[in-house]
Subunit: 283 residues, 2 copies
């Protein structure tokens, strides 16, 4: 398959490298700044720099921020070969995916979204790696009347580049879940560093502090966009968390050993169930 | 040196194994249940089961929960050789360390506390490993008039078993810092799992969710004890975090892109400063 990856940042760059390392697909790369394309050619992360001819391209993977993704697709969809499968790797689907699908339909193309649940606390091509997706979860978002073969094609591609679990779900459910599993975690991390003690942390921390604050280095432009596009789901998760934190806070404030024991035991059991995967994959 | 480790759980067991793997000290082990002592003998995690004769012991490391540590020390201090150095590995110091020091003084012993900032989300001897302390931070808590050589002895021992940074500080400052770097992280983790979405998480999460919830499996008995003994410091940190989370929440609720950009950028810069270790080690 001839695959065009648009945007050679952390995700796009890693995807190219993974495709070259683990598959026989031919990879075309396109990036705003030519220096990155040159670096990708040197690293053999891509086979060709994309020169604008879509006629040989079977799959387009747009790896830009949501706004850029929509803009690129709107501008370039008319130039793509009819029937080309197009995907994106944005962390938001919902309304965004519905708009992407409309652009596809209007131009006689096919569209299915994917979201690799992988990343690093520092972005850019310079941090991309062929093994970023090893054992990472991938979410494939499909509308009800999407073609089964398109969904399966992206599922296969995810596995080829190293995916662990691949979940196929609706754009709406994706956004609901991601508010909890990813966006809330980023907000907590960002808020966690804002204690006066952070300035004296050096030498006093263990793994839990590092884990808690790792993603606080996130890019504010991308994440503000993602958060605002998923406002209701994220507000629900934030309110739930704050409410739960207040329970611990009040138990501690009143010195209630019994209540603290109960709260921590409840959390322990929920995490144990989570680790046991007691509940199957959702649809 | 002949070292007695009392309590062969995750920390005590790992300490024995690290002493055997990385040092030439002779290790005596003592544990409530004889099966664990037998396992430690089989694993050559200890040289001898401790039979109750303190006359050859140069250093006693009590690796029990805070309550058990104090109880053990009270009961056994009179049997120890005068001048023996005693330490503990509890996650709380403050008043606890002051009481430990009084017991030591009363019995002609020396006491300095240590807190290895290492652990795992599952405890017990069965999870102990000689490399638990590799590159882990160690906090040594000393009172103003403690003997320099005792503090240095524990600093050396920490490095021998693999410590990264070793910080020497007062018991009070230890508690203040640990409220932020460890206890708060455990509460957040425990609260984080309490969303209805946790039941459907499988397949939807990346590293940030795993990092955020890893320590939610903590033992409720030990942590309730630690939290209650550090109530004021922990309340301050919890309130600070909740206040900060509310800022993100309100910015999101009002759809303020500008405010979200600012909040996330502030967090990013604070974490970057933290990673740069711009501020030196505190005293």
């Amino acid at each position: 398959m001839n695959i065009l990856v648009v945007g050679l940042g952390l995700i796009g760059g890693s995807l190219c490298k993974a495709l070259k390392k683990y598959t026989y697909h031919t990879v075309y790369g396109s990036n705003r700044s030519p220096e990155v394309e040159e670096a990708a050619m040197r690293d053999i992360a891509i086979d060709y720099r994309f020169e604008g001819d879509f006629s040989d391209i079977d799959l387009v993977v747009i790896s830009l921020y949501p706004e850029g993704t929509e803009k690129y697709f709107t501008e370039n969809a008319p130039k793509m070969k009819k029937g080309t499968l197009v995907t994106d790797v944005c962390g938001i689907k919902g309304d965004f995916a519905a708009r992407m699908r409309k652009i596809a339909e209007y131009n006689g193309l096919r569209y299915v979204g994917i979201h690799p649940m992988a990343g690093k606390e520092f972005g850019g091509y310079q941090n991309s790696t062929p093994d970023l997706f090893q054992r990472a979860n991938f979410v494939v978002t499909a509308f009800e009347n999407d073609r089964e073969e398109d969904v399966r094609a992206l599922e296969s591609l995810s596995k080829e580049v190293g995916a662990g679990k691949v979940v196929i779900t609706s754009p709406e459910n994706h956004d609901k879940m991601i508010a909890y599993t990813s966006q809330l975690a980023h907000i907590v991390s960002s808020a966690y560093v804002k204690s006066p003690e952070i300035k004296l942390e050096c030498g006093f921390s263990g793994g839990s502090f590092q884990d808690m604050t790792r993603v606080a280095t996130m890019n504010e432009k991308m994440w503000t966009d993602l958060f605002l596009q998923n406002r209701d789901n994220l507000l629900f998760e934030l309110d739930t968390l704050i409410q739960n934190l207040l329970e611990y806070r009040n138990a501690l404030d009143s010195g209630s050993e019994k209540e603290l024991l109960r709260l921590i035991a409840d959390g322990r059991k929920m995490k144990e169930d989570n680790l046991r995967h007691r509940v199957g994959q959702p649809n």
